[in-house]
Subunit: 452 residues, 2 copies
């Protein structure tokens, strides 16, 4: 038993067992490993031993390994397993895992893999894949125990024992009526504490928190984190129970949604991680950068429109990066607050109005503080009180407008159901750049005679 | 039963029951509500009914309500309950919830509340509060069932039934030896499928994934999301079992850590949500803005250092915002990739080297593409091929340097264990601003005779 062995020692023991053809020692080691650790070991051993590693694993262990692997490695393992074993593994894989794996493949490959599977398993996966990405239906699974409402507690416990292998968590049993509609939920705790002859419908909890198959996965995440559930039932339009979403999938959703928010704030493009190839990463980041390059030229165009002002008072150029940068910063701050607030709060019209009003006041406070500060600095640096006033007033105005732009633009996009990635951080920054230059040079031009 | 009532109907029914003094109808409604929904109802009813609402709740329900409330409302409820009931509620509250509530209070208030509680409960909460914030010890709780390794399966099931009320999840039982050291874990599934007379130590799983009390809460989150557990045991230095961390707390950790990353990228300051008062929000965002204001003035200083160049070729000013903006954007993109990558990947030196190398290539690809593009645009706009070349080459260099700065700075800070908030997005943007202006004006000055 590898209880007290380090990971490296386990790797060596596995290689030894594989080399010497000792299947039993190999299994003894693997049996003690969690799926993630088995996956780490599979990654760690030299390539030439991988074939035998797979050969020695049971179908259940292969399935666990498959669920941990990256896309390319999944395909590689299926290929190495051959058609018979790989089909058994696909049949055993969790439906939601399989659906998510298949949806990354070419249509022909999907069909090829599905055609070998058991019709029932294959049909269930296809059902899942028919729901749009990032909906509750797409991430649900069928590893739960349901009972009928007329069961007694005793009957329910029997069924629970029978399906213990299948159910992911044993915390709740979902109760359905004759039409398979979800009508209640019973916790395992309730079963333990109730009398064996009592009816389920008398002890069940009838006000079930549930989610529709077509609901956004973020909504499911919000409910699970709000109610501290470990699973959430998913229902079809007719109220029948379609599946459950489990908390481990929700953690992945929460991380994924946070990453999407950050990709949006930084325009870094979808799903770049440490292992993405440089050209792929560059290709994903470029579209935004090129758009922003053109938008940046608009700023340049504005400055060129004020060429005479700039020619007359080159000192204005010294304050340009500060004003543009500050406006961009406040805009991004407001944007971040709005985007992350929506993760846990529902957005009502009242809430939105309150938020805009709050951010306006934040802009005013920040603007007054920074405006006074920069007026004093500009006056001492350039020795011109009007220049100081122009810079200060410009900063006050641009900070208020920048804060409001960073609040209102994402709120409008959210309400219009437009992909909020459009309101990415750099775009807000660039819009605020343009607004700030217009305000700054506009005011400076009006007072030009007093500045030079 | 309010099974099919809307939230508004429930609110009206609750108000009616309270007004007419019908405690039984009130309880019937509340019994069907989840803690979060009860909290929503408490928020929804008019203030004058809140006293009676609290009066009608059982101690258990009050405890559930308390755990949902915001800080100010918690204090308000404790005040309304009076010393006797409020102490009962505090005794019943989950230790981690109570520790997190108390740590937001003044020391005198903490002492006052703790002194009334049962010595045992009070001691446990104080133990938790002794662990530093954001460690595993701080977020663990004691709602788990432990068994000794020499128990039989039958004895373990008995103990499980006995403590079913107390345990949060019934998925795993933790196994300890004579010295209270954690030596194994048994899933409830294993219990159901094993023979009643078997010994626990023969069926338990010995290679327990666990976390140290002083470990960062992020590490606990990484383990739970990696292994798909619903709870994770926490051990003290001597190997004894101190508590468990449950998945519902980990979801909060994941959201909190994502928010911290975003606060860092946007410098929006800690814990600003939709309900923060405007002056508080402004106060939290200001420190960074003022620092960035001064850093922005450094950019201005650089430009003023190149005043002669700028005077001779005002057209250079037109490209300034674009070059500075683009460099800031690539830096933020790299920063975002590094920061979020660390959420799920462990950072080895090899991994860091690989990442820097990858980002360098991304910078080169992006730099060449955008450099060529802007050279052509600049040539056609200003009709000067040397100006076009100067702008293009500057952009190529600044994009490579910007990408590297956005990668290396956060990696160094992470390795030095410096609060990564220092590498906030606006700071990277501003550093990149300065670098890009130096490069741009440096090259432009060298070729000045050919530009004008």
């Amino acid at each position: 038993m590898p209880m007290n062995m380090t990971e490296n020692e386990i790797t060596l023991a596995i290689i030894k067992a594989v080399q010497e053809g000792k299947k039993k020692s190999f299994r003894d080691i693997i049996d003690e490993l969690q799926p993630y650790d088995m996956y780490q070991q599979y990654q760690a051993i030299p390539s030439k031993h991988k074939y035998k590693f797979l050969y020695y694993l049971s179908i259940e262990q292969l399935t666990e390994l498959m669920e941990e692997l990256e896309l390319d490695d999944k395909l590689d393992v299926l290929h190495r397993l051959g058609i018979e074993r790989s089909t058994k593994v696909l049949d055993l894989m969790e439906n939601d895992e399989l659906a998510s794996f298949l949806s990354d493949l070419e249509p022909e490959k999907i069909e090829e893999l599905l055609s070998e599977m058991k019709p029932k398993e294959s049909q269930m996966v296809q059902d899942l894949m028919n729901y749009p990405p990032e909906t509750a239906g797409r991430i649900m699974n069928n590893r739960f125990v349901w009972i009928k409402k007329h069961y007694t507690i005793g009957e329910a416990v029997e069924k629970l024992k029978e399906f213990a292998e299948l159910a992911e968590y044993l915390n709740y049993l979902y109760v359905i009526d004759e039409d398979k509609k979800l009508v209640g939920v019973v916790s395992y705790r309730d079963l333990l504490l109730a009398d064996n002859s009592q009816k389920i419908e008398d002890v069940m909890y009838g006000r079930v928190v549930k989610v529709d198959v077509y609901e956004d996965q973020e909504e499911a995440a919000k409910l699970i984190s709000r109610y501290d559930f470990v699973s959430l039932p998913v229902i079809k339009e007719d109220g029948t129970l379609a599946g459950i979403i489990t908390v481990d999938d929700i953690i992945d959703v929460v991380i994924q949604e946070a990453n999407e928010d950050i990709e949006m704030l930084s325009a870094s493009g979808k799903a770049i991680d440490f292992n993405t190839k440089p050209w792929v990463a560059a290709y994903r980041r470029l579209p935004w950068l090129i758009i922003l390059l053109f938008v940046g030229l608009v700023s340049g165009g504005i400055i060129s429109g004020f060429e005479e002002t700039l020619d007359a008072a080159v000192a204005l150029a010294f304050f340009m990066p500060m004003i543009a940068g500050m406006t961009g910063n406040t805009g991004t701050q407001s944007l971040a607050v709005v985007v992350r607030g929506l993760v846990s709060e529902d957005l009502t019209l009242k809430q939105a109005g309150k938020l805009i009003f709050r951010e306006m006041w934040v802009g005013i406070f920040i603007g007054i503080t920074c405006g006074i500060l920069i007026s004093i600095i500009a006056f001492f640096w350039q020795g011109n009180i009007v220049l100081g006033m122009v810079v200060g007033v410009s900063l006050l105005l641009t900070l208020i407008i920048g804060t409001l732009a960073g609040t209102i633009i994402p709120l409008i996009l959210y309400k219009l159901n437009v992909d909020p990635a459009i309101a990415s951080g750099p775009l807000i920054t660039t819009i605020n750049d343009i607004l700030s230059l217009l305000i700054f040079f506009g005011i400076a031009t009006a007072f030009l005679s007093q500045i030079v």
